[in-house]
């Protein structure tokens, strides 16, 4: 049964033929999608943001939206058509015949209600069970999804649970009535890798019990772990469908190939992840991409940057940034204090990249802030270019701030939404006031050119740009101060894989051209592995392992590193 394409779909849990969904009078966003999911099968629909995958999923529940137009030749749940159902008829089938699990249970479970009540809702709506019977079933469900001590958990609010616990509770609510079909829309996207692996295992277990699972995700590598079949969605259509190993191993469609190539794990340092030139536009196929990118040969910034003069040979081993025994604690809401960073030490060498990897709450962002001297360490010191940095006065530091650039995860949130791109970059350029600097417009254009953006973005505002363009502006802003050190805190975490690949390639380019030293912080081991020379693994505020990237990945010394490593989703090699 598993993975086999059903010829006769009479036994299918879900049959979709020629589904089209549009909003208002606009062009349809889902254009003729057909697929079948068999009982006990996991089909993954994979696509980037805007491809129409979530709209497809919601249409299957009759929840596409108030002004949506849904049409299909066939749309059947468990062999019964759901086309043209009334609201009331839909209500009777949702939760019973099909369950939905959304991303990030913090907002997908009502924050004002205990999780026990949320889980009991389906039972209240579709069964005649009394309060005691519902309570008993809720405990069974929590146990089934692997939440320890269910009696203690039922009364908790979603905000009191960890990300993984919440997601388990959300899954428990969706499978309360054992629906034959479970739709999971990005069920692991906001989770740490080890938790992600656990949730995937749970979904696999649910599939194994005979439930059909439709998995919606942007991440090919993640779904490949449990999906029997994969359907790649692009621009409202399924461009490629097939068994997982086959789709990942020999992708046929160009979009699939792009997505497979963009998986960063296992690709050695310096391998390009996107078949694109610097602007992110695909280059002509017959020209190798590294040859068609002449910018790092012609851009004179490397030679003209005054901070880069001097003997290159000796600088290779120069320590540009050093953390010595950094500690920092925070006060919890209940008044006790928590050590967020505990005795962290490392050195960053000129022109190299130190990847800091850890799960949420491991203290990696606090380390970034300590390095930027936006927080003062309780113990320890940060040195930059051999001089005291954290211990210096803010006045002294301000002179040097431009040499330590920062790139953040949420590029949009780090811009003033009312400022145009020109204003944002001019402001950053003015940080380092230089006499006789070329005219601002020329500098803006060359800065944009360096990050692969056209000057046409200058008058636009951050909201009018795509996620990838915004992060490019974020990099341009960091480069404007002519930094020698860049501190990147989850710079690609909110981007689609192919965009992520382009931005990683870009960071690689500018690092080589400008001789930058990078601190690259991420929860994503695959990304860190691809970009780093040295890797530090953080857990509970401590560095549990630090060493050359190849060594850490080939032979992790610490059990936690090994555990993290085992959880990393990998593409085919």
């Amino acid at each position: 049964m598993n993975g086999q394409v059903l010829e006769s779909d009479s036994a299918a849990a879900l049959t979709v033929r020629n589904l089209r969904v549009g909003f208002g009078s606009a062009e349809p966003v889902v254009r003729g999608v057909s697929f079948v999911v068999a009982p006990g099968e996991c089909l993954a629909i994979v696509g980037e943001s805007g491809s129409g995958k979530s709209v497809t999923a919601r249409s299957l529940l009759g929840l596409a939206g108030t002004n949506s137009r849904v049409s299909a030749d066939r749309l059947e749940l468990g062999g019964r058509s759901v086309l043209g159902l009334t609201d009331r008829a839909w209500q009777a089938r949702r939760g019973k015949d099909v369950g939905l699990v959304l991303q990030d249970a913090l907002v997908s479970l009502d924050p004002l209600r205990p999780i026990g009540r949320e889980i009991a809702d389906s039972l209240r709506l579709h069964t005649t069970l009394g309060a005691a019977g519902r309570a008993r079933r809720v405990l069974e469900l929590l146990d089934a999804v692997g939440l320890p001590q269910p009696e203690l958990q039922v009364r908790k609010l979603s905000g009191q649970l960890s990300g993984g616990e919440r997601q388990r509770a959300l899954i428990a609510a969706a499978i309360a009535l054992n629906p034959p079909l479970l739709i999971a829309d990005e069920p692991t996207t906001a989770l740490d890798v080890t938790v992600q692996a656990q949730i995937l295992a749970l979904l696999e277990q649910i599939t194994g019990a005979g439930t059909a699972v439709l998995l919606i995700s942007h991440d090919l590598a993640v779904v490949s772990r449990i999906a029997h079949r994969v359907a790649v969605m692009y621009d409202g259509q399924l461009v490629e469908t097939g068994r997982t190993a086959q789709v990942l191993g020999s992708p046929q469609h160009e979009q699939t190939r792009r997505m497979v190539a963009a998986i960063p794990a296992d690709k050695p340092r310096g391998t390009r992840l996107s078949p694109a030139n610097r602007s992110g536009a695909p280059s002509t196929p017959d020209t190798p991409s590294f040859l068609s990118t002449p910018s790092f040969l012609s851009t004179p910034s490397f030679l003209s940057t005054p901070s880069n003069f001097g003997a290159e040979v000796s600088r290779e081993s120069t320590v540009v940034l050093e953390a010595i025994g950094l500690s920092k604690s925070f006060r919890r809401p209940d008044g006790t204090s928590q050590l967020a960073v505990d005795d962290v030490s490392f050195t960053l060498h000129h022109g190299s990249t130190l990847g800091i990897v850890g799960e949420s709450g491991s203290g990696k962002t606090t380390v970034a802030r300590l390095l930027l001297a936006l927080l003062a360490p309780e113990h320890g010191e940060v040195h930059v270019f051999g001089e005291p940095w954290s211990a210096a006065s803010e006045k002294t530091r301000r002179e040097l701030r431009a040499s330590v650039g920062a790139i953040y995860q949420d590029a949009l949130g780090s811009f003033d939404p009312r400022w145009s791109i020109a204003e944002i970059l001019t402001d950053a350029l003015n940080l380092r006031r230089e006499r006789g600097a070329p005219h601002t417009t020329t500098r803006l254009t060359s800065l944009l050119d360096e990050v692969g953006l056209a000057p046409t973005v200058l008058p636009r505002r951050p909201l009018e740009l795509s996620g990838g363009q915004r992060q490019r502006v974020g990099i341009a802003r960091a480069l404007a101060g002519r930094p020698e050190i860049l501190i990147c805190d989850e710079p690609v975490s909110s981007l689609d894989v192919t965009v992520q690949a382009q931005v990683l390639d870009l960071l690689d380019d500018v690092q080589r051209e400008r001789g930058l030293s990078l601190i690259f912080i991420s929860h994503d081991l695959g990304v860190v592995q691809h970009i780093s020379d040295q890797i530090a693994v953080m857990r509970d505020g401590r560095i549990v392992e630090i060493g050359p990237a190849e060594r850490v990945f080939a032979a992790p010394q610490h059990p936690y590193s090994a555990q993290l490593l085992a959880a990393v989703p990998r593409g085919p090699v």
Binding site: Q91, R94, G95, L125
Partner: protein
């Protein structure tokens, strides 16, 4: 449990005392800005032609000849012992006078607050259910209602219901019928204001992923609203109700005067006109106490509706 509640209660109490002290201080100096001699006010105002000897005697008796700072501390001392003083104009103690007027105003304010909530809830739920036209009509109604000044609304209601239709009395009669127009006057603008806030948070809640999850479990439209969305929508409105209560008391000054209704508002207006400082101070202090109590109540209500607040 008690160990967690007590420090918070103590902090609340200290805060309340501080607020009352500030109110007393500001009132003391503010009434001093009203032009004229306070001794003259005691002797019946500028029209009474009091002799210089009489004025001097009154000044000495009430302490008006003392430095301001001495008068200020004397006043604070009296307030701490609960002595609100004696009215200059009415020849009676301020405490009993203010308390006798308090009930009418409280009844007016509480009824107006309840009615405003009901109107706002009805308007918000109706305008978020019925599609685009209802949404537009609802938001227009809210804006118009919120913009209505009390004096204009009161007069218009009298013109329509008392003079035109003759169904309701134009002045307060002490029974229920006499309450309708004053309560409406206060409630309608507040309902517009609360309705705007409720509709916005209701829309946000209805768009949120947890509502989508609830719908995916088979929850009906009504269930989505009553079990999930309205609870979220009411939170900001509850927090604002403390402030709304304060604005209702100040609105009562206008409404009680127009409808010739006895109450704190009218007492305050008369006292200011007559420069009756003890009565002004007394009314302001009692309103401040009521306001503080109301804020405590809205806090308690917020904690009741939002269990997240009970965690810390």
């Amino acid at each position: 449990m008690l160990a967690r509640v007590l420090p918070r209660l103590a902090a609340r109490l200290a805060g309340a005392v501080f607020v009352l002290w500030m109110v007393a201080t500001i009132t003391f100096f503010a009434v001093r800005l009203i032009p004229g001699d306070p001794a003259q006010a005691v002797l019946g105002g500028p029209g009474s032609q009091a002799s210089p000897e009489a004025l001097a005697a009154v000044s000495a008796e009430y302490g008006f000849d003392q430095p301001v700072i001495v008068q200020y501390f004397a006043q604070l001392g009296r307030l701490i012992t609960g002595d609100l003083g004696r009215s200059y104009a009415l020849n009676m103690d301020v405490g009993p006078l203010v308390l006798s007027q308090l009930g009418g105003t409280l009844l007016l304010a509480v009824l107006a607050l309840v009615l405003a909530w009901l109107l706002a809830l009805a308007l918000a739920t109706w305008s978020t259910r019925g599609g685009k036209v209802a949404a537009r009509v609802g938001s227009s109604l809210e804006i118009v209602a919120a913009a209505l000044p009390h004096f204009w609304l009161a007069t218009s209601l009298i013109v329509v219901f008392s003079i035109g239709l003759g169904v309701l009395p134009p002045i307060s009669t002490g029974d229920i019928a006499g309450l309708v127009l004053p309560v409406l006057t206060l409630a309608v603008p507040l309902a517009g204001f609360l309705g705007q806030i409720m509709r916005e948070s209701l829309l946000a809640a209805l768009e949120s992923p947890f509502v989508l999850s609830a719908r995916a479990r088979g929850e009906s439209e009504r269930g989505v609203r009553w079990v999930h969305a309205l609870r979220h929508a009411s939170l900001p409105a509850i927090s604002l109700s403390g402030w709304a209560f304060g604005s209702l008391i100040s609105g009562a000054v206008v409404v009680e005067t127009i409808f010739a209704r006895p109450g704190l508002g009218r007492t305050l207006l008369n006292a200011v006109t007559l420069r009756d400082v003890p009565v002004v101070t007394g009314v302001v202090m009692i309103v401040a106490v009521a306001y503080i109590l109301m804020t405590l109540l809205t806090d308690a209500a917020s904690r009741l509706v939002d269990p997240r607040l009970r965690l810390t």
